[in-house]
Symmetry: D2
C-alpha cells in the first residue's frame, strides 16, 4: 500500500482555506512532508535545498522503517520570510530533487487553516470538546459545518455561528442521506471528523476522503470492534476502558490508528459508569488526533500511522 | 455460574501451609469472605458475629451487583488474639448464620502462607519478579517449586533453594508431561502461576485448579488473543501495549481478568521493542494479581473478578 | 485537629437546596457519614440501626487510621422508601447511638443538590468544564452564581442562565470586594469552587467556608506553590506537569489535597505548551474533586482527606 | 552554563570500554552529538558530511531552544561499515566543520560499552533491577563494580561476578571513605549510578564526575527534597507518589532531571505502603534514565536535560 500524508489528488497537500487565516504564530511557517525509499543522502539534499532557499528549520523529525532498503519519512517545519510569496516557486524547484529520490511530498502553509466538517449524532461531549479547542486556539481549524442525523445538537452549535445541517438517516434513506452529505462537503472541507457519529459510512463516502475521515471509537481497538463497546467491556470484565482515534477505511473500525488512551475501571463500574468515564478519554484522544492531523503530523503507511508528535 | 473465591472442595478456603508461617505482621489476622443473595441485614449480622467473638475489624469491603436482588460480596479482615486457637470454633458457629443467608463463605488465616508453584519456560523476567517480591516480603507466598519445560531457568532458581523440575513438553509427550506436572503439584500447592509459560494447559489440568491458575498474557485482552500478541500489536499499529493477568479457564485467554495495564508505544517501536517495553508491564501486572490472590482479595463471579484491592 | 466532613455549624451536613431536586436516580438515596474513635462494635451498631430502620445499604466504605485506638471513618449510602419523610426521625434516633460512640456524624439526602458558587477570572476552561458536567448530569450541583473579577467570562455563562457577578478586585478594593462577594454568597451556597480564580482569598473569607472552598492549583503540590507554577516547572525542567485540587485553608496552597494528576512533558515544551497541556489535567482533576465533594465522599482529617471514591 | 553531553575533558565523549564489546546489534553503529548556536545550514552541513563519509543515518533528532538565535542540539545515529577503523579520521575531518559552526561535539561507538559503578546502601531493588537489565541486554553497560557503605548487598552481587567493595561511611570517616571510593573509581568508570545510596556526596566527588552521576530520588522533585520523602508525602497527604532520576550536582536534589514517574496512592497507604509502591517506580525510572545516558540520548543544558528518547 502507498504511504499517504493527506495529499490532494494533484499530489499536493490540502491547500487549506485561503480566506481565513489563523493566528500570527502561524505566519510564514511552512511544512514539508516527504516519503521515499530510504537511501543515503536524503536529509543532506533536503536540508541543503531549504538552506539555499533561506528557510530556517524550526522542527524536524524523521523515521525509517528500515535504514537499509526501507521507507523513509520526513517532516520539516521551517520559517521563511514572506513564505506565501515564495511557496509556488519552491514547489516547482523542489520537483526535480523529489524526482531523483522518487519522493512523494508536499508543502503546506500553517497559516492556511484546514477546513473541517464535524459529523455528530446525539452525544455532545466530543463535539463540544472540538469546538472549545478551536475557540481556544489549540486546534488550528476552520470548522465549516456540523452535520447531524438528529436535530438535538443544534443548540450546542448555535452560539458558535457554525452552519448546522440536519440530515436524517434511516435504513431506507441512508443512500440519499449520504448523497446529501457529500454534496454539502464537496469542495468545502479538507477533513471530516466523526465526533461520536453513530452511522457507518459507506465505502463510497470513505473513498471521497481517503485518510481524511477521523473517527473516535470508544474502545481500545482492536478490542470491542463494532456496536456497544462499553457493553462488551463490562461483559468481559476488563480493568481498563479505552478510546481509539483512527482514520476510517473500508473495513469497520480497522483503519489506521492515530491515538489511543485508557482509563482505569473496576468491578463497581456499570455500563453507565464506563460510558461516563470513557467520555473523558474519548474527548482527549480525539482532540489530540485531530490536532496532529491539522498540523500535518500524521502520515499513513501500510494501514498504520507515523505520528511526528 | 457460581461465585468462587478460591474455596477448597470442602467449602473452605485453602488452608495454606501450616508448617511455614509468614511474618509477624500477619499474626492473628483473619479474613472472612462471603457471597450470598443481597438482602438487608447481612452486614449487621456478620459484624455482630465478629464483635461478639471479640474480633476487631481492620479492613472491610463490600460490593453488590444490585442492592435489590443482586449478589452481595464481602471481605472482612480482622484481628483476634490467639486466632489460630479460636478459628475452628468460629467456623462451626458461623455455619448457622451462613445458612440463614444462603452464604458461600470461608475464613483464612493470614499467617498461613499459600503454597505456590510457578510454571515458566525460557523467559525469566516474570519468574524473577515473583521470586524477588516473595523475598522482599511483598508477596506472602511459600514458593514450593518451579516447573519448566526447559532447563534454562534452573540457574535463576538455584540461589533461592527452591526445587526446580524440568518437565519437557512436546506434541507427543504433552499428555504424559501434564500427568507428571499434576503429580508434582498434587496436595502440594494452593496456586499455580504461569510466569510466561508457553504451553497451553489442557482442560483436565485447569479443572484440577479452578480459579487457582493465574496466567500473564502479554496483551490488553481481549485484544490479541493467542500466540505472538506483540507481533499482532505491531501489525495493527496500536499506540498502547498491554498485559493482562487472568485466571485460566477452559477457553484460551478468556478466563476472568484480575488486572491489566498498558505502556505507551509508537511507530518507532519494533516487535523487539514492544517485547522489551511489555516485559515491565507484565512483571508489575502479574505481581499485583498474584498479591491480591494471596491476600484473598479476588472473588470470581460470572467469569469476572471482584477485586477488593 | 478535628475531623471534618463538611458539616454545618449545627453538626449536620449541608442541607442542600430544598427547592431544586436532582434526577430520579438520587431519589430516596441517603448517606450517613461518621467519624469516631475506633473500637469494636461500631459497624455492628450502625448496620443494625440502618437495618431496623428498613434501609437497604447500596454502598459502604470504611477506614481506620489505626484499628487499635485510631480514628474510624464510615460512609454508608442507603436506599429507604420515602426517605425525606423519615430522615428527621432517623436523625433524632441516631443521636443516642452516636453519643455512645462519641461520633461526629451526619445524614444527607442525595436528591438535595448542594448549592455552588464558582469564582473565576479570565481563563474559561475550568469554568466551562464544570458547567458542562453539571449540564450532563455528572455533577449533582445547583450552580447558583458565577463571580469573577473580570467581565470576560459573562458570555460563557450567559447561555446557561446563571447569574454572573462582576466584582472587580484591585489591591485597594480587595477588602471591599470580599465583603461584596461574601454578601452574595451568604446563605446561598454550600460550596465555593475556585475555577482558576487568580486572587488569594483572605483568612476571613476562608473561615466562612471551612473545607468548603475547593481550589485547582496548576502544579503537583507541594511542588511549585504560589504564582506561575508552569514557569517554575519549565525553569526546573520537570518531566511531568501536574494539577492539584485542594480545600483552601489559611496557608497558601497548603490545604487538604483532594485529587492530583499529571501529564508527561519534555524539553520541547514551552511554558505556553505546559499551560495548554496542563489545562486538560486541571479540568479533569477539578471535576473529580468537586464531584466527590458533592457526593459526600470526602472527609478532612488532620489536613488530609479520606476520599471514599 | 555550558551545554554538556557527557564529554571527557579532552572534548570527546567517553571512549567506553575498549576491551569488552557489546552485542552484535551495536556493531558499526556510531553516534554524533552536537550543540552549537542555532543558525541556518547546520543540518545541511552535518548530513552532507555524513553522506560523503558513507554513513547511513538510522536515527536523527534535533531541538532548538529558539530557532532564531537559540541553542541547537543534534543527535544522529548512523551505520558505517568498519566504523572503528574510520572513526579516528572522521573525528579529525569533522573538526574543521565543527569550528565553523562553533560546535561542541563528539562521536561515540555503540559497541564500546560505558563502564559503570553502582553505589548502593542496604535497599536492593534498584541494584537488582540494574543488574537484571544489564544481564538481559537492555542496558548496554559494563558494570565494573558495586560500592556500598554496608556489607548486606554482597550476596546480591556475588552471582554476577562483579567486584563488591564495602566502604563503610560514618560522620568521622566520610572524607576518607570518599577518597577510597574515588580511588576505586579513578580511570575505571564513565558513569556512577546511585541506586538508593543513602549518603550525600561531597562537591569534590561530584566535581570528578560532572553530569556522570545519576541518582534516583524517591519523590516527584522538587517536592520533598532531602531525607525521608515518603514520610513527607504521607504527612502532606498527596494522592500521587513519584520518583525522579537526575544528575547529581553540588546542590542537594537540584541537579538536572532526566526522568520522572508517579504511582497513584490514597489515604489508606501507610509510609510502608508508599515505600513498597514507590519501589516499582524507582526501579523503572532509574532504569530508563540510565539506559538513555548509556545510549548517549541525554544532553545537559542550563541545569535541564534534553532527552532524545
Amino acid at each position: 500500500m502507498e504511504p499517504d500524508f493527506n495529499v490532494q489528488p494533484d499530489g499536493r497537500f490540502g491547500a487549506g482555506s485561503p480566506d481565513r487565516l489563523s493566528s500570527e504564530r502561524h505566519r510564514n511557517i511552512g511544512r514539508l512532508l516527504i516519503t521515499c525509499p530510504d537511501r543515503p543522502g536524503i536529509v543532506a539534499a533536503v536540508s541543503r535545498f531549504l538552506f539555499e532557499n533561506g528557510a530556517n528549520i524550526v522542527e524536524s523529525q524523521q523515521y525509517s522503517t528500515d535504514p537499509f532498503g526501507g521507507t523513509f519519512f520526513l517532516r520539516v517545519e521551517f520559517y521563511l520570510e514572506d513564505l506565501a510569496d515564495h511557496i509556488g516557486e519552491m514547489e516547482r524547484e523542489f520537483g526535480a530533487l523529489a524526482d531523483s529520490f522518487d519522493m512523494r511530498w508536499g508543502f503546506t502553509l500553517a497559516e492556511r487553516m484546514k477546513r473541517v466538517a464535524i459529523l455528530a449524532s446525539k452525544a455532545e461531549h466530543a463535539l463540544q470538546e472540538l469546538l472549545w479547542r478551536v475557540h481556544s486556539g489549540e486546534l488550528n481549524a476552520d470548522i465549516r459545518m456540523v452535520i447531524s442525523n438528529h436535530p438535538d445538537l443544534e443548540r450546542v452549535v448555535a452560539p458558535w455561528h457554525i452552519p448546522y445541517h440536519h440530515v436524517p438517516v434511516s435504513r431506507e434513506t441512508k443512500e440519499a442521506a449520504e448523497v446529501e452529505q457529500l454534496k454539502l462537503l464537496a469542495d468545502e472541507v479538507d477533513l471530516v471528523v466523526l465526533a461520536r457519529y453513530m452511522q457507518i459510512l459507506s465505502p463510497r463516502f470513505v473513498d471521497e476522503f481517503p485518510n481524511r475521515v477521523i473517527n473516535i471509537h470508544h474502545s481500545f481497538l482492536p478490542a470491542f470492534v463494532g456496536a456497544n463497546p462499553y457493553h462488551q467491556a463490562a461483559e468481559r470484565g476488563v480493568k481498563l476502558v479505552g478510546a481509539t482515534a483512527h482514520y476510517v477505511s473500508a473495513e469497520l473500525d480497522a483503519g489506521p490508528i492515530i491515538e489511543q488512551d485508557i482509563v482505569r475501571v473496576d468491578h463497581r463500574h456499570s455500563v453507565a459508569d464506563l460510558r461516563r468515564l470513557g467520555r473523558d478519554v474519548e474527548r482527549s484522544v480525539l482532540a489530540r488526533a485531530v490536532g496532529w492531523h491539522l498540523d500535518d503530523r500524521v502520515i499513513v503507511h501500510q494501514n498504520k500511522t507515523i505520528v511526528f508528535a
